[in-house]
């Protein structure tokens, strides 16, 4: 048990985490490709037509994973930001910074695919209802976090300022998630027409889950890539960066 704790702390240092992340990245890319291809095959080639929405419902296989990721990445980012604030660990702030752009990407994709789904189904690209508006606020929170960090030269101070913004913004995530229950919105519940035919439900659900897993693996791979670059940049005055870049001995 105690060994495990020591191991965790070992990887909390950029010097030890850097090579580990490097080894993990190809595996996450491979998993992203496998899950993504499987999910898209089911979603776009095998899944039957939706009774109500026709073929247009297939946007669900992109929209739902993107939306889930945009919310989940925010929670993870806020977790790392909070950890950094509480324990003053270097890696935490770097992880939060590495996640923000990917979270923003998924928030944008959620809005984009949502608009393209909304137009044929609701007759409008956009409506100021609770679900859509709170997702837009999430995108602004990500952009605000990135901009705030970019505006502060000292990375440790940037981490702290960003962490406070990230933690305050966390309140928005349950608002997005429960908005369809709390308010009367145009946005449908997650389960399109999953209850209609059991075989169809299983196929759609699997497509969605696999696509979501693909997006998870993608996010981890990309976040690890970005955190490695951030590590090199921030730790450039250290010996370990020199030896990593082959500039020693």
């Amino acid at each position: 048990m105690s060994e495990r704790v020591i191991n965790w702390f070992k990887y909390a240092s950029p010097q030890t985490f850097y090579p580990l992340a490097g080894k993990l990245i190809p595996w996450f890319w491979a998993l992203a490709a496998i899950f993504g291809l499987a999910g898209l095959t089911i979603g776009f080639l095998l899944a039957p037509t939706d009774e109500q929405q026709g073929e247009g419902y297939r946007i669900i296989f992109l929209h739902v994973p993107a939306s889930w990721m945009s919310m989940f990445i925010y929670l993870v980012m806020a977790f790392w930001a909070g950890t950094g604030l509480a324990f003053n660990t270097r890696l935490s702030g770097m992880m939060a910074s590495a996640l923000a752009p990917t979270g923003a990407l998924f928030a944008f994709l959620s809005l984009w695919t949502g608009a393209l789904w909304g137009k044929p189904m609701w007759g409008t690209w956009w409506v100021w209802d609770a679900r859509l508006t709170s997702e837009l606020i999430l995108l602004f929170l990500y952009i605000g976090f990135i901009a705030l960090q970019a505006a502060i030269d000292d990375p440790r101070r940037a981490d702290k300022a960003g962490a406070i913004l990230a933690l305050v913004g966390v309140v928005n995530v349950p608002i997005i998630y429960f908005s369809v229950k709390w308010w009367n919105t145009l946005h449908q519940g997650a389960s399109v027409s999953l209850t209609k035919a059991p075989s169809m439900a299983a196929m759609m659900l699997w497509g969605m889950i696999l696509c979501a897993l693909g997006c998870w693996m993608y996010s981890i791979a990309v976040a690890l890539m970005r955190v490695r670059t951030i590590m090199l940049e921030r730790e450039r005055h250290t010996d370990w960066v020199r030896s990593v870049l082959g500039e020693k001995e």
Partner: protein, 75 residues
């Protein structure tokens, strides 16, 4: 297989532009992100290597402590 032919698949009922508009933008961005990251990383590594080389070439000529801190973290 749900589709009878490629034309049906591309048409997506009447929703082709909406579905493919989503797919293409999502695919483009999810390809662009790692490509840009890779490029940024290569640039950074090249910059750091250049910087280290300059520092190393200056060190033997000047035995005084360097102005630029090396070998220690200032964070």
């Amino acid at each position: 297989m749900h589709w009878n032919n490629v034309a049906d698949f591309l048409a997506m009922g009447k929703h082709g532009p909406y579905v493919w508009g989503s797919v293409i933008v999502m695919a483009l961005l999810m390809v662009a992100e790692p490509v840009l990251l890779r490029r940024g990383r290569k640039k950074l590594i090249a910059r750091l290597k250049r910087q280290f080389r300059v520092e190393r070439s200056e060190t033997p000529a000047d035995s005084r402590p360097m102005i630029v801190p090396t070998g220690r973290s200032n964070t």
